[in-house]
Amino acid sequence: MGTLNPPASGVTVRMYRQGLGDCFLLAFPTGQPGQAFYMLIDCGVIFGTQSAASKMQDVATDIEAATGGDIHLLVATHEHWDHLCGFLFAGDIFQRMHIHNLWLAWTEDPTDTLAQQLQAEFHANRAALRMALNLISDPDTAAPITNLLHFFGDPMAASDSGTGIANANLQNTGAALQAIRDFASKMNASPVYRHPGEGPLSLPQVNGLPGVSNARIYVLGPPHDETTLKDINPSTKGQEVYKQGAGASQDSTGGAGEALTASKAFFLAVLDEDQISSADKELHELSFPFDQHVRISSEEAKQNEFFRTYYGFDDPATPAGTGAEQSEKWKDEVWRRIDDDWLGAAGEFALQLDSYTNNTSLVLAFELVNTKKVLLFAADAQIGNWLSWDNLSWSLPDANGTPQTIRIGDLLARTVFYKVGHHGSVNATIRGYGSTPKGLELMTSPDLVAMIPVDRQMALKKRWNMPCEPVLQRLEDKTSQRVLRIDDNTPPRTQGGMSDVAWKALQANYEETKLYIQYTVTD
């Protein structure tokens, strides 16, 4: 363990190997030897990872040693456990370090109206999903939903932040974000909320540290638009991602105070009457398919001969599960009842909620000024986030001072390092429609190297398809086999299928330990 030294010109990227989750430490040279600018992007590991706390402690300890305790810029991309839990598990270490600047996406901005609307909706949906989960008795139905909710930490922890639960086992991403804000406020650094289209930005100034002159930052996402944020699925044509089958159609997660949406109707059914806010009372009534006067309550139905015969109920005289025989009339064809089946839809909504959060990812591109090489950190951005970059443009004076317009295509063409989105899942690295290439297809540099923070075994345990095979294959084509994965337990790395040129280039700039994989891009 020692100080992480960047190259004289360029940047060094260290990917930690804590498991399925993101933690990237970047070091930029300041021109002053021995004084680097350190940037940390996320620090987390997936819920349910074995000895997660000690793994995150190890990571944080290394970060402290590598940076000398100064993180000049901390970037928290989005509110997911596998990106943030390190700030809880290694809270003591981060507490004693110095966080000089904090960047968050605009979606975390308490003064942004849209952000606040989305946050309110998000918390309400999360709470309702937790309720739905409590109602599901079949463990096979519940498991995938629980796994999805684990992206927000412990599903049983309260969904609002700052509840002050001391037990780390009962915490969630809200608490992690609050912890990050607290670390920063210790240094009087108030969070800067980044918006797409900002840039080219210089790396923030830090007292006592010379400025970084060889890098600038472009902010790509998340889009400041509700519809795009909720675009999480490949379209029915399914051409924009690397996949074989046709995609799923979509259903928006719903707008507050507007017409009734599918998710709202579902969640209203999950909540108890007294949990429904007065604003939602009207929608609650509309969510019933028929007028009040035709509804027969379960209590009435239990007295009704037809429903007793053809549906059957648990006999109140002999409650189910007591082992006592139900009387003939009541127990008929229990296997045909449908009390819980409708809750299966919760899976779909949990998926939407989770993917929506991924779409709120703060996506940054770093450009090295001499060689114009670009490093792309896509966090967990999904389709909507990727597609929104097309609408962005930046202006940068050329050598003669004439302003030049830069668009996403220019940045992607010069991308030599790609932090693969969402652990290599199908919907987080796009390819474009038919003849219009996008995303990865526009990354044409022969120097391209990709890093995937993925642990295949852990993903399998959760029954998730990460990394997705077609995405992985295309990445390997594009990078001449230089795809660096957290779970690649094969040090010393071998040439494998790499060409001699690619292998040499990698070897010269690459370092690997049990704790991290590190790659340097020279400028």
């Binding site: 490949p234 029915t236 046709a246 599918a262 059914a269 027969i296 296997w335 839809a345 899942s425 199908v426």
Partner: protein
């Protein structure tokens, strides 16, 4: 109708029971009723068989409706309430063809699901010439101590399919093989185009004619082939979806008013965009897509313009999501229909146009429309019967589209010897254009596609005792009467055949695609049913369809597989997947010949390897599959819930 027996005056003239009960329903779904052009045809009166008990001759339809085949139970668990069952025997309802279409009256919903599901059942029974059965319920007996005693499986007869018209509060509808029930959902529309939908207005899948017909078909198919919900290759689940779509589609042609209006509108050209070729308009629009949920003819392009889709033979190797893959089969069948229809109306068009075949501008003459509609209805009925009848000629497990093509050709050839209108060639042509081939034939001629009679000279002598045994059994069968009794007759016959086969199992080693060489090898007489066909001289023949199946443990690791299969590993590890094989035999009890023996060999290593690579493969890369697993992982409890939820589609 249950009436109090009144003393009758002696001169009363008895009134015969009507053959049909007339019930009103939406022809498509409520969304078309708000378009002026289609509103007139969107209410149809369906003729549903008047249900009575064949023994007692008493009417049996009860409030629900609950009849011989169906029980509609209206429980809405999301709303925690029930809706009172409709009594279709109420005099006021009898006098006005049931309730008028209404979205706000749950009893109309009950009436409509009953009418549509009964029509679908009738189409099945009509094509197969026998009564329809639902898949039986299997329960594992408990030992009373919370455990499962030696896995003794009990088969219980399921008389009625249950329909829950308001079971789910989501954009979904599915058949549950576990519960032998249709679970139909409702949801608020999220239409991007409020012309079609009140945003937030409730859409009911149970009011979509297509959705109900589609789901009922899933249940009917499950009743015949319950292994077709196991995705042992990419075609199996796709076939389930395709078949359900085919039945729903061709049911459109049994509604005369709709047919005439659409033919007039399309000016006789059924290859242009028309409602008949589309499924679930309202569902499609309400979930935010451009037109219907599925269209057998074409799709809307990015600019919202409808385009006739061109057959692309490469797609069969690229599309694996079951609905999308199934739509290739649907398209092939629909193409067959269009070409048959076109050849049947060619003369009409010549007559109507003095030989030019070019129709003048303007509306078609109503007489011509009627004649065209007639031809369309006949062609559609023929294709539908052909598709349903082919089910008797399919292997019991691991069906492929290619097998189905062979079944279609053989079934039709058995029924109609003389193919003077070239129907079978039209089928092969349409399949060929979509790249759908069987992999085990040398050419695509009708002769080679037809299933072959067993040619092994040993086959018939070895099988003769079995056929004689069956013949003996048949003589005791009483095929009239109640479904439950017929079911029991066949259940006992299956058991008897099984015991008899077991005692002589080694005799059949290698004949049926079964592994019977080991003593006490387990197998199942999967199904036994009569199939009717018309002989060459027009006489009605009854044949027997016998399906025998077997299963063995499949392992992802070929080395373990080899150990277990060939080296006699003493305590094999739990199976990674189940590999099934078996055969469908069509036996003519008069001539005592096995006409076809359609096998899926359990001993085939090639097939085992294919299933292994499919099960472990990455063919489903939908976002949902990232978190919820994919359809090719077997052992899903509710395969159709999964399938349908993943598409937000029925």
């Amino acid at each position: 109708m249950q009436q109090k027996e009144m003393p009758r005056p002696s001169h009363t003239i008895p009134v015969e029971r009507p053959p049909f009960r007339r019930l009103r329903a939406y022809a498509f779904d409520p969304s078309l009723s708000i378009e002026l052009e289609n509103a007139v045809i969107n209410t149809v009166t369906m003729q549903v068989r008047w249900e009575f008990d064949p023994e007692t001759q008493k009417d049996i339809l009860q409030p629900g409706p609950v009849g011989e085949y169906l029980e509609v139970v209206d429980f809405d668990p999301a709303s925690e309430c029930f809706y009172a069952p409709v009594d279709l025997n109420q005099p006021y309802l009898l006098a006005q063809d049931g309730l008028a279409p209404s979205e706000g009256n749950p009893q109309f919903h009950q009436q409509m699901v009953y009418a549509v599901a009964m029509t679908t059942i009738r189409n099945f029974e009509h094509a197969l010439g026998r009564l329809a059965f639902w898949a039986p319920h299997y329960s594992i007996e408990s030992d009373g101590q919370g455990g499962q005693a030696a896995g003794k499986i009990t088969e219980t007869y399921v008389r009625r399919l249950r329909i829950y018209p308001h079971a789910l509060r989501e954009a979904n509808a599915y058949y549950s093989p576990q519960k032998k029930a249709l679970l139909l959902g409702y949801f608020p529309a999220t239409s991007s185009d409020p012309r079609y939908h009140l945003p937030g207005g409730i859409v009911f899948t149970c009011l979509s004619h297509d959705v109900v017909a589609h789901e009922t078909t899933h249940a009917l198919l499950d009743g015949m082939h319950r292994r077709y919900e196991e995705a042992s290759n990419p075609d199996v689940l796709a076939f389930h979806e395709a078949f359900a779509d085919i039945v729903a589609l061709f049911q459109h042609f049994s509604l005369p008013e709709v047919l005439r209006q659409q033919i007039a509108k399309a000016r006789g050209d059924l290859a242009s965009e028309n409602l008949l070729a589309q499924l679930a308009q309202e569902f499609g629009q309400a979930t935010g897509s451009h037109g219907a949920l599925r269209d057998a003819l074409g799709n809307y392009d990015e600019n919202g313009v409808w385009q006739r889709s061109k057959p692309d033979p490469t797609q069969i190797n690229q599309v694996f999501e079951p609905h999308a893959r199934g739509s290739l089969l649907v398209a092939a069948i629909f193409d067959t229909f269009v070409s048959i229809y076109q050849s049947r109306i060619a003369d009409l068009l010549r007559i109507a146009t003095s030989g030019t075949g070019v129709l003048p501008v303007g509306a078609l003459h109503p007489d011509l429309v009627n004649r065209l509609a007639n031809e369309a209805a006949k062609s559609a009925q023929h294709i539908l019967n052909m598709c349903i009848r082919a089910l008797d000629y399919c292997p019991p497990v691991d069906l492929t589209f290619g097998d189905y093509l062979r079944a279609l050709i053989t079934a039709d050839d058995d029924l109609v010897r003389d193919d003077d209108l070239g129907y079978r060639i039209a089928v092969v042509e349409a399949f060929r254009q979509r790249g759908i081939y069987p992999h085990d034939v040398r050419s695509l001629s009708i002769d080679s596609l037809r299933w072959q009679e067993p040619t092994d000279p040993d086959f018939h002598p070895r099988i003769l005792p079995m056929v004689q045994k069956l013949r003996e059994m048949i003589q005791e069968w009483d095929l009239s009467g109640k479904r439950e009794q017929i079911y029991k007759v066949f259940w006992h016959a299956r058991a008897e055949l099984h015991d008899w086969l077991q005692s002589t199992a080694q005799e059949f080693q290698g004949l049926f695609g079964l592994g019977l060489s080991r003593p006490n090898a387990k197998f199942e007489v999967h199904s036994l049913r009569p199939a009717r066909r018309v002989g060459p001289d027009g006489q009605l023949l009854v044949e027997l369809v016998i399906e025998i199946t077997q299963q063995k443990s499949g392992y992802f690791d070929p080395a373990i597989q080899d150990q277990v299969d060939n080296k006699g590993m003493s305590s094999p590890p739990p199976a990674d997947f189940i590999f099934r094989g078996g055969c469908t035999l069509l036996v003519d009890p008069i001539t005592e010949k096995v006409r076809y023996c359609i096998t899926k060999n359990i001993l085939s290593d090639g097939r085992l390897a294919r299933q292994r690579s499919y099960t472990t493969g990455d063919t489903d890369n939908s976002l949902r599959a990232v978190y919820f697993g994919s359809v090719n992982q077997s052992g899903l409890k509710e395969p159709f819930a999964f399938l349908h939820r993943s598409l937000a589609g029925a």
